[in-house]
Structures are given as structure tokens and as C-alpha cells.
């Protein structure tokens, strides 16, 4: 196995086997765990997180970070609810306007980071404060959405064999996932993203459009975060300014568990999907257990995150040793 394959395939193989083990363990312990219904619910419950994490994967692949995604979810959700509730817009329009806002905010992050060389961590931290401030300014109270079309959309679902049903957010997540995988693996944009994460100086010397791609990656992350907010609005049928608090951490955890290196250059969108599934299975198993309290989810996610970081570290040093031989 050569070095690149070691860095690329091994993390995702480990992630996949952990997911399998978790599923098997939970399946043996709890009856009915391994059913279509549980799986479909898992997708529906984590759809918004998944969409956010797919966008974030691109930013992390470039070697950057986007801390603003959680509050972007809140901004998008409260904005959509306000537009339906007060401005009486049609829900389709009300759910799409925040997407444009999200892309524009992401774009401005990208410009500050790529054009002016500001640290991604601080710029998106400012974005976090900004979005949360604006959403609290829009409304401090949560707003219920009452609209016949919206009601139809939230109650609609696609039946699956085995009593499972895919809701609209779950289908949205699967579509975003497919587009994300295509974008990362097949498009020119995706290849440039990997090149920048690998070595941005060489990418520039190769004549790749580094600035434009970086800006697009942050815009994509902002767009996905806003789309995640729209799905969250569908999921809860209401808008709330403080929804998505701390979500950026779950999303980063999903990306890291999915085998994407935080230094950029190595990783995959499919890995992020596996990461989301692992988080979802842990959460569902704790719900099935019943006696364990919800905070165990956070502690277990922390432990998983630590294990995966150690694995990444081991792979990195193994790859480096391979290189020096």
C-alpha cells in the first residue's frame, strides 16, 4: 500500500468498521435496532447536521475551519419563520432567501480569508457572533410556522419497505450528499480543494485558482449551513434564534470521525456521511438504553473523537516513516 492510499483509504476503512461494530453491538443488545425504521429515523434526525457537515468538509479539506455554521442554522431558521409569519411569503420563497444570505455571508468569510489572509478561525468566529446577534435581533422568541403548504411538506414522506419512511429533510440530505460526493471527486472545484489542502503554495504555482476556490469553499459552507437551517425549520416546524448552538462542534466531530484530516488535503464527503451515521447510532443507542442520560452522548462523542484523532496521528507518523525510507 503506498503512502497516499494509506492516508486516504485507511481512515475511512477504520471509520466504516467502527460503524459496523457499533451497529452490530447495538443490534445484539437491543431488539429492533437494526431495522429500516430506526435507520430512516436516524437520517431524519440528523439530516440538518449532515447537510452542515457536508459543506464544512470542503472547508476543512482546504485546511481551514468554519465556526459560524451553528449560528447560521439559527439565522436561517428564524429568518424563514419570520418571513412566513410576518411578511406572509410563500414557504418556498421564505426557505430560499436565507440560502442566498448564507452563501453571501460565507462568501464574505472567504474574501476576508483568501484575499486578506486573515485567520479562518477568527473570521468565522466573528461570523458566529454576527449571525447569532442578527438572529436574536430578528426575534428572541421562537416562531411557529402555520401554512398549509408547509404542513403538507412536513407531513409528507416516502415509504420504504420495513415500516421505514424517508421524510423531506432526509431526502434533502441524501441529495446534498450525492452532490457533495460528485463535487469532491469529479469536479474541477473538488480537485483544486484537495490540492490547496495538500499544499497551497504548490497549488498556486501550478496555476490553480487558489483564491477563487477558497472563497467558493466558504460560500459553499455558508450555503450548506443555511440549507441545514432550512431543513431544521422543516424538522421542527418553527424558527428559533438559538437553534444550532454548539452545532459547529458536532459537525466538526462528524468530519473528523469521517477520516478527514484537519490539516486538509485528505478526506472524503462519504467519510463525513459515515461520521454522521456514527454520531446518530451512538445517540440512538443511548435513547434505546433508556437509563443512560443524554449527557453521555456528549462524553461518548468526545471519547470517539479522541480515538479517531489518535488513529489519524498514528497514520500520519506511519506515512511519514514510509516516506523517509
Amino acid at each position: 500500500m503506498n503512502r497516499a492510499a494509506l492516508r486516504e483509504k485507511l481512515p475511512i476503512a477504520i471509520t466504516a468498521s467502527v460503524l459496523l461494530l457499533l451497529c452490530l453491538g447495538a443490534g445484539l443488545k437491543f431488539e429492533n435496532f437494526l431495522s429500516m425504521r430506526v435507520f430512516a429515523n436516524l437520517l431524519a434526525d440528523n439530516a440538518f447536521l449532515g447537510v452542515v457537515a457536508v459543506g464544512l468538509t470542503f472547508v476543512i479539506l482546504t485546511g481551514g475551519i468554519d465556526l459560524s455554521v451553528g449560528s447560521m442554522v439559527g439565522l436561517s431558521s428564524i429568518m424563514a419563520a419570520k418571513l412566513v409569519g410576518t411578511a406572509h411569503l410563500h414557504p418556498i420563497l421564505a426557505l430560499s432567501i436565507p440560502l442566498v444570505v448564507g452563501a453571501v455571508i460565507g462568501l464574505s468569510h472567504g474574501v476576508l480569508i483568501a484575499r486578506f489572509g486573515l485567520p479562518p478561525f477568527l473570521v468565522t468566529l466573528a461570523g458566529l457572533f454576527f449571525c447569532r446577534g442578527i438572529s436574536l435581533w430578528i426575534s428572541r422568541e421562537s416562531i411557529q410556522i402555520d401554512h398549509p403548504w408547509f404542513h403538507d411538506l412536513t407531513s409528507w414522506s416516502l415509504s420504504l419497505p420495513g415500516k421505514g419512511a424517508l421524510t423531506a429533510p432526509a431526502i434533502g440530505f441524501l441529495i446534498v450528499l450525492a452532490v457533495g460526493i460528485w463535487l469532491a471527486r469529479q469536479s474541477r472545484f473538488g480537485r483544486t480543494v484537495y490540492a490547496i489542502g495538500g499544499n497551497s503554495a504548490s497549488a498556486r504555482l501550478m496555476g490553480l485558482p487558489v483564491q477563487t476556490t477558497l472563497i467558493s469553499a466558504y460560500a459553499l459552507s455558508g450555503f450548506c449551513a443555511a440549507l441545514g437551517g432550512a431543513l431544521f425549520t422543516l424538522y421542527t416546524s418553527s424558527g428559533n434564534a438559538i437553534s444550532g448552538t454548539g452545532l459547529e462542534l458536532d459537525a466538526i466531530a462528524a468530519v473528523v470521525i469521517g477520516g478527514t484530516l484537519l490539516t486538509g488535503g485528505y478526506g472524503s464527503v462519504f467519510g463525513t456521511f459515515l461520521g454522521i451515521l456514527i454520531l446518530g447510532v451512538v445517540q440512538t443507542a443511548i435513547t434505546f438504553q433508556g437509563t443512560l442520560s443524554s449527557w453521555w452522548t456528549r462524553i461518548l462523542i468526545g471519547v470517539l473523537l479522541l480515538c479517531f484523532m489518535l488513529v489519524q496521528k498514528a497514520i500520519e507518523s506511519a506515512a511519514r516513516r514510509y516516506q523517509s525510507h
Binding site: 466573528a126 457572533f129 446577534g133 436574536l136
Partner: protein, 336 residues
Amino acid sequence: MKRLPAWSWALAVLVAVLLFNAFLTPGFFNFVVRDGRVFGSLIDVLNRAAPVALLSLGMTLVIATGGVDLSVGAIMAISGAVAAGLISRPAGTPFEGGKSAPALAIPAALAAAMGCGLFNGFLVAVLELQPIVATLLLMVAGRGIAQLLANGQIVTFTEPAFAVVARGATLGLPNPIWILAGVGILIGIVTRLTALGLFVEATGSNPVAARFVGIDARIVKLAVYALSGTCAGIAGLIATADIQAADANNAGLYLELDAILAVSVGGTALAGGRFSLVGSLIGALLMQTLTTTILTRGVSPEFTLVLKAAVVVIVCFLQSPSFRESIQGRMKWRAA
């Protein structure tokens, strides 16, 4: 011309905000002495800024080594949960049974906080994980641990001997101000009157060179993360004593971001290598003065967040090399 210190921007803005208040907010500079305590907006600013200022002191040294500590907010929650647990011994928590032990509360909470800091330091220094990710771990899991320690409840207690940490006053000034001053002077002496500060800066600016001159970067990093955790523990004690309750979900929420903000506004380079404790204190005071100004002027508090965002971006701009180059280029062009 002598180079101005890096925090002069922050100081200038702080003075500007204070002047604005002097003219437009009636009574901002008034002091009233009641029951042997001094009251006034300025005292209030200092008192409320104390927790973030404490965090930013520890954070300054961590950032100076080229790292960052995202877990301080969660460590505050852990420290508060330990202290409140030892005092009120709530059922269903690990502290259940036994007598109320207020004397034990403070050392135990600080030990727990320092342990968390050492854990961060171990991940960064020994396992060589990226600081953002390594401390992200406790930021995620830390609140879970705090909830575990409090059994998911908000642990309340009435213990005047402990509440005095935040609510009491010495020589007319609230105790948090004295605690902040004490910790600040202690860290200042240790870093600036000994070579330790130099070791920290050397580790941050060039780890390889630092190793060649015989500085053990691992020990230095371990020490600064432990210190940052301890500072967070003290801040957590103040926050808990202030409301006489430990709220695992909300204690110190987002304060890590405020602390990083205060440090960067104060002129400490985020890439590491040089630091200014005075600058970080000025940064923390500036943030609190802005917040207090917004509140006393009746502007809706949501704008504090938007304002903080604006301050981060502006300060980043002023510190960014490419921005400086473009300004310098323009000035040279004019001179020519």
C-alpha cells in the same frame, strides 16, 4: 520613533468609549460609597470583566506558544459543578452523602480545573495533536462531564462563606477585582521577572530553535495549558459563587470566544511568539465596557454580538500583513 506597544489600538478605543460615556451617559463616572463599598459603573465594568479577564490571562500564554484553548468555558462549568456538589451534596450525583464541605470546595474545584488543563497539555505537548482539535475535545465532552457531576440539574446552594468569593468586598472593592489583580500580578511576576516568559515566547515563535537552545517545549506547553485550566477554574468559581448555583449548560458558554477576542484585541499575535498580559486585560475591559455601554444606553443587547463581530474583523484587519503592506505601499507611492 519608539515603537508603540501592540495594545495601543485597544487602549485608544477603550479611551474613546470611556470619553463617549463621560459626555453622553450621565453618571457613568460617579462613585457612591454605601455600607463601606464603592458602587459605580466603572466598578461594575471591572467586576463583570473579571471572569473573562481571568480566562484571557491564561489564554494569552497558551496563544503565545502558538496554541489555543477552546475548552475554558467547559472547564468553568466543571469547576462550578465540583464546588457546588461539594457544598450542597445533591442526591444522584457523585457527591451524594457526606457533609457539606465548603472548605474543600475551592481547592477541589481548582484541582479538577488544573487536571483538565493538564489533560489538554498532554494532548498538545506529548501526543502533538493540533491545539484547536485537542481542546475541542474537552469543549465537547467537558459540558457532558459537568452535567454528569451535577446529574443534569442546576445545583443550587446557600453558603455565605463561599458566596463571598463573588459577592463580598474587601477595602470597598468587590472581591473578583482583587482576585483578578492577584492572579494578574502573580502571572506577570512569574513570566516577566523570570525567564519563563521568554521560554513561552521562544516556544511559540520557533519551536526548533527553542529546542536547540535547550528549552523543553513539552514542559512549557504542559505548564501553560495547566495554567489556562486553573484560570478557568477560578473564573468558574466566581461565576458559581455569583449566582449561588452551578449551571452545567450555561456557565461560561461562549466565554472562550470572548477570551480569545480579548487576547487578540490586546495585541497578542495569534500565530504565537509574543504576548502582552496588559494588552489582554485592556482587551477584556474594552469588551465589557462596550457591553455595559450598550446596556446602559438602552440599545438592544443583541447588538453586543454584532459589535463583537465587527471588532474582531477590524482588529484582524489592522493586524493582517497584507493589509499593512497595501497601506505602506500606498504611503510609499505618495512619498515618491
